[in-house]
């Protein structure tokens, strides 16, 4: 099907709602995306007619639910072009995926004197888990700096890599700056020194086609809710040989093979890492979300988003005394800015009154606020259903905020 923006908008019921008696303009997509009918209907149908626990049930409903749940896994594998379905672990989201790797990989492979590399543009979720495991294992956390143009300093990165580097944990796309990192080069350089690579794909999944066999990273994580799916479901991709060696992260039902009071043997992949009843509806909803994006065509969706994003960048750049932080050459749709000397809370509070949803604050990237020496940012982030008309409303709101706050 061709890309028809009005059709696309029609798929998202929330876009018809009003806020303060005005049409909602939703530009907080980096925080969470809205859900199309297809996803909402899938959840509704599951709870209405299909609900049952998965695995081990021999009754009809349970077998049906299990089949759907495992089909969702197959679809994720296909969507990411992973090598095997056993490499796809359902988690609660990116945060849990990273914590799982930090704990399970860390306890097995990180030893005193080892180093873990992250970057200055990481989300707190890709900082704190590594800080904790480094402290626990007596390892060092090294932070790759960013350049003036909000890009990863690749020269510094190369210098920081050594045979002590156990793992490199870097975001694919910065949630604050929108910067797309050269993950393919990062993987190659890291592998050259024998380090493993985790890519935080939370902000990439809805905007960039992902091909994991080609990328060859060791771990990749994303959240369902940032790609038009439900909250509380996410994915950890890990290479089989690594996942096989890692011990379970949480323990309980589902992840065991045999339990006696003396010893428990663990289930095979991917179930070893899925303790307890999984978010079944979430997985089915995620399946529908990915199917939706596939039907639209992720490249067509990205091309549309890019057009809207560039329009917004251009219009915003024309406003005097605006500082734009999303200045990398390669970037997706997160647009962070400030009015010079004005607190982002003030700007956000006024923009909100125009029924425009943007995010303000440190955006879970406090180190970046220190680098740019600001209390926070205002961030507009775009998705497949946004339009240039919406950008105009947003720009008008920014101009109004400016005239109220800077006069």
């Amino acid at each position: 099907m061709g890309f028809d923006i009005q059709n696309v908008r029609g798929n998202f019921p929330i876009l018809r709602r009003k806020v303060y008696e005005k049409q909602l303009v939703y530009l907080d997509n980096a925080a969470t995306t809205q859900k199309p009918d297809m996803v909402i209907d899938r959840l509704n149908n599951f709870y209405s007619y299909e609900n049952s626990n998965v695995h081990r049930g021999i009754h009809h409903l349970s077998q049906e639910a299990t089949a759907c749940f495992e089909e969702a896994r197959d679809y994720v594998q296909k969507f990411l072009n992973a090598h095997s379905r056993n490499e796809i672990i359902f988690t609660r989201g990116t945060t849990e995926s990273i914590n799982l790797v930090a704990q399970s990989f860390g306890r097995k492979f990180i030893n005193p004197g080892d180093e873990v590399l992250i970057s200055q543009m990481e989300h707190h979720s890709n900082i704190v888990p590594w800080q904790m495991i480094c402290e626990e294992r007596g390892a060092r956390l090294l932070v790759v700096p960013i350049t003036e143009s909000a890009e990863l300093n690749m020269k510094a990165f190369e210098k920081m890599l050594s045979d002590k580097t156990r793992i490199v944990a870097i975001t694919h796309v910065s949630n604050t700056l929108g910067t797309i990192n050269p993950v393919d080069i990062i993987v190659k350089l890291a592998h050259r020194v024998g380090a493993r690579v985790l890519i935080d794909g939370a902000q990439a999944i809805a905007h960039l086609p992902i091909d994991l066999q080609n990328l060859d990273c060791d771990f990749y994580c994303f959240s369902g809710h940032k790609v038009y799916g439900p909250t509380g479901i996410g994915v950890l991709y890990g290479k089989v040989e690594l996942l096989e060696e890692m011990l379970p992260y949480q323990c309980g039902g589902e992840m065991i093979s045999e339990v006696t009071f003396e010893k428990t043997t663990f289930n095979e992949l991917p179930y070893k890492f899925e303790a307890g009843t999984p978010n079944i509806a979430g997985a089915l909803g995620l399946h529908s979300a990915l199917l939706y994006l596939d039907r639209l065509g992720i490249r067509q969706a990205a091309a549309h988003e890019d057009e809207v994003f560039k329009y917004a960048l251009d219009k915003l750049g024309q406003i005097d005394q605006i500082i734009i932080y999303s200045r990398a050459q390669h970037k997706t749709t997160s647009l962070s800015f400030n009015l010079k000397g004005v607190h982002p809370y003030d700007v956000g509070s006024i923009i909100d009154k125009f029924a425009v949803a943007v995010r303000t604050g440190h955006l879970c990237t406090q180190p970046l606020t220190r680098i740019f020496q600001v209390p926070g940012f205002v961030r507009a982030s775009f998705a497949v259903y946004n339009t240039t008309e919406e950008v105009d409303i947003f720009i008008n709101a920014v101009i109004q905020a400016k005239s109220m706050l800077m006069s």
């Binding site: 303060y20 607190h343 809370y345 003030d346 509070s349 303000t360 604050g361 209390p375 109220m404 706050l405």
Partner: protein, 147 residues
Amino acid sequence: MTIAEKELVIREEFENFEDWLEKYNYLIEMGKDLPLIDEKYKIKSNLISGCQSSVWLHAEYRDGKIYFTADSDAVITKGIVNLLIRVLSGRTADEILDAKLDFIDEIGLKEHLSPTRSNGLVSMIKQMKLYALAFKAKYESSERESK
């Protein structure tokens, strides 16, 4: 003027505004007017940080009354801080502890006092009441004992 009377004055001020724009412009003006906290009190131990904006709050006890000075890094937050100080500063501990502060809701600024907004204001009110409680325990219970 009692707290209730002071709240009424503020409610009347806000009744004149036709829309949020005028209201916010007034808040911004009041934010700019806020008597700044003495620099020496703008220290970390007086800082109430929210995810969104931060507030500095200082309290003093003089002659049975509590006086607050405050500041915020965001001007709209500062405007609301100003309102809260107009109502609560120069009051007895009991008055502060009993204050319900419904006027914020009535003048249509409830959203700024939502705990999820995380702008430091909810914690600021909590802190003002804690000061009242602490001063009351420190000065007023010893008075009772000395009598």
